[in-house]
Symmetry: C2
Subunit: 373 residues, 2 copies
């Protein structure tokens, strides 16, 4: 029996969180709120699937008076609000169509992101006409955030690609996985990809284990996971990992110009891992707490919302600004993304969204009963 | 039966909230976090009473797996964290001493304040070693904030003295309650106090009604309410309402100096009402949803934490900064509190905390069963 109250912010966990960075806050020109249409496209494609699954699988009989929904990695909310609207409306319809119109529970949505997230912007942007009571939950989703068996529906979109940290080996010049002169694994040694894959598996497992304790038995979890079709063949030539490589080459150019030393680039790596479907499925299958109800490979229409090189640069900047500023200093950021936009503009193949082969994985998981030993 | 999901942020409600102001955010020299020892003293006096009441009245048999506690009006958390520590530790002890050591639930604390509150500072200040999962709830506590029957223990300290708005009559020069040349009711016409009292009753009732829907049957609510011994007799000569009068006289001085017009002072009134015990008790007795389990009149030792005139000025500034800035402009604030400190320093009677007769009321309320029609 588990009686210890898990502390999501132990000093170790807290140290980890404070090392990290978050999407750009506020509502300004470089904010994530104004530069996340790429990630926001996900819900448009997944909407019908989520609605269908809710209408098929949400159990509306004998429900408690609160229906709890949690979004893990909500950032400042822009895309999260759209998803929470779809989910709460679909659940409400399910109660109505199943003759439980007088039993519709109160909806309570928990918006989670790291402690450093701009919750003030999230709260002041909440849609006035929402169906739910809104709450914010600060902390890393690689640990526990909510009481045991308290969540009925969990959701997370474009978040599991974030590693809790860069694998230590890739920045260690004594390791076979040292990633000299690059910031990610496109075209790098196979040891670099292996290090990323290992960290990814560890992080996704930590996420799944924490959510398994928080979900009620029978509770559902919908995940939208950024991915690429394959790591090493020609299909990956135009995907998000190609973009990371382009960003890396811009950093190398700046090092060549003497703006900072090449060592700075050697010691910098992006804590991101777009998975491939086989890898992600294998992680899910190792987890003993869920049944996999549905898995779909989807296109991300969000990429079509970024027509020009400047939009592409702004999208990347809203995501990587803090991370790059922490390592290289704020004075190179404008120049870096200016160069990035120029490089994209000079490469029609990179610019054409039809060439972008990044995909996303939709999965619906169901929490197994607790007494299934 | 109530099936409509109440929207705490309807556009009307939202408009109201956005008109309002909050305690100073951040951790800087003028922040509420660093200037709220006066309010923080409340919990020191109430600690033993709260612990005693929890050990007597919290029902630990057949408890659900989550114990939900909510603090209404937490500001950036400094004083709230101390209170939540006392409350969660006392509840945990109650489970232990009643032989329910294997049934200790997870604690979940909902920190509430207005949308404009600095939740980013609250979240980054959370004590790492806490016993509970932390969440933030943005919105006015004069309306619904949480699902029905979802709260086991409600708490609110030094908050109910804040009115949802200044009574309209006191700023209306055609009304008998027009409060010309003053910013509060010390020494004002009796119609001014009446207008404040009416608004206070309306606001406290709205608070009690919202909490009655959110509390489980049998759920407890502890309130620490700033008060004065009486409105009109000599006992009130040195209380918080005397301080408001002193602040008002500093504003009049600035108007005399031509820093702004006297009309500006006429149209400004503090949305604060320290109640008297009889008035507060009468409001509680009109409420049909609670039993009054305990009521105590307490001293506030917090005032002894403000030894000098500058501390007194800083305390008031952290609370009134936004309100005054919105009305008079930021350029007069430094000067205003400089003058205020000088006026306090020149009046040994005002400066001596032994003369300060402000009190606080502690009440413990218990939510009646829901089916008591």
């Amino acid at each position: 029996m588990e009686n210890r109250v898990v502390d999501p912010n132990s000093s170790e966990e807290r140290g980890l969180m404070l090392r990290q960075y978050v999407m750009n806050g506020g509502q300004g020109p470089n904010s994530y709120a104004r530069n996340s249409s790429y990630q926001g496209g996900a819900i448009d494609v997944a909407k019908l699937i989520i609605e269908e699954e809710i209408s098929k699988r949400v159990d509306v009989k004998h429900h408690s008076s609160t229906f709890t929904i949690a979004d893990f990695g909500c950032s400042t909310g822009h895309n999260s609000f759209a998803a929470m609207k779809i989910i709460t409306e679909a659940i409400k319809r399910k109660f109505e169509t199943d003759g439980q119109i007088f039993q519709i529970p109160d909806f309570q949505v928990f918006f989670n992101d790291k402690v450093a997230n701009d919750f003030n912007t999230l709260f002041s942007s909440l849609p006035p006409e929402r169906l739910y009571y809104a709450t914010g939950v600060p902390g890393s989703f690689h640990g526990r955030l909510l009481p045991k068996a308290s969540v009925h529906f969990a959701y997370s979109s474009f978040t599991l690609n974030w590693l809790s940290e860069v694998p230590k080996e890739v920045a260690d010049n004594t390791s076979p996985a040292w990633n000299k002169g690059k910031i990610h694994y496109f075209g790098a040694k196979k040891e670099v990809l292996e290090a990323y894959s290992n960290q990814y598996a560890k992080d996704v497992e930590a996420f799944l284990n924490s959510r398994a304790e928080e979900l009620v038995a029978g509770g559902l979890m919908a995940l939208l996971v950024p991915a690429v079709p394959a790591f090493w063949n020609h299909d990956t030539a135009y995907t998000s990992i190609t973009e990371f490589d382009t960003l890396g080459s811009c950093l190398l150019d700046l090092a060549e110009e003497g703006r900072f030393s090449k060592d700075k680039v050697d010691s910098f790596n992006l804590p991101l891992h777009p998975t491939v479907p086989q890898e992600f499925k294998a992680i899910l299958e190792r987890s003993k707490n869920y049944t996999l109800e549905r898995m779909e490979i989807l296109d991300n229409p969000g990429k079509r919302t970024l027509p020009g090189p400047k939009d592409r640069a702004s999208c990347l900047r809203a995501v990587f600004d803090q991370l790059l500023t922490n390592h290289f200093g704020s004075e190179i950021i404008d120049e870096l993304f200016h160069q990035y936009a120029k490089k994209i503009a000079a490469s029609p193949l990179l610019l054409d969204p039809d060439n972008e082969k990044s995909i996303m994985i939709f999965v619906l998981l169901k929490r197994k009963p607790y007494d299934n030993k």
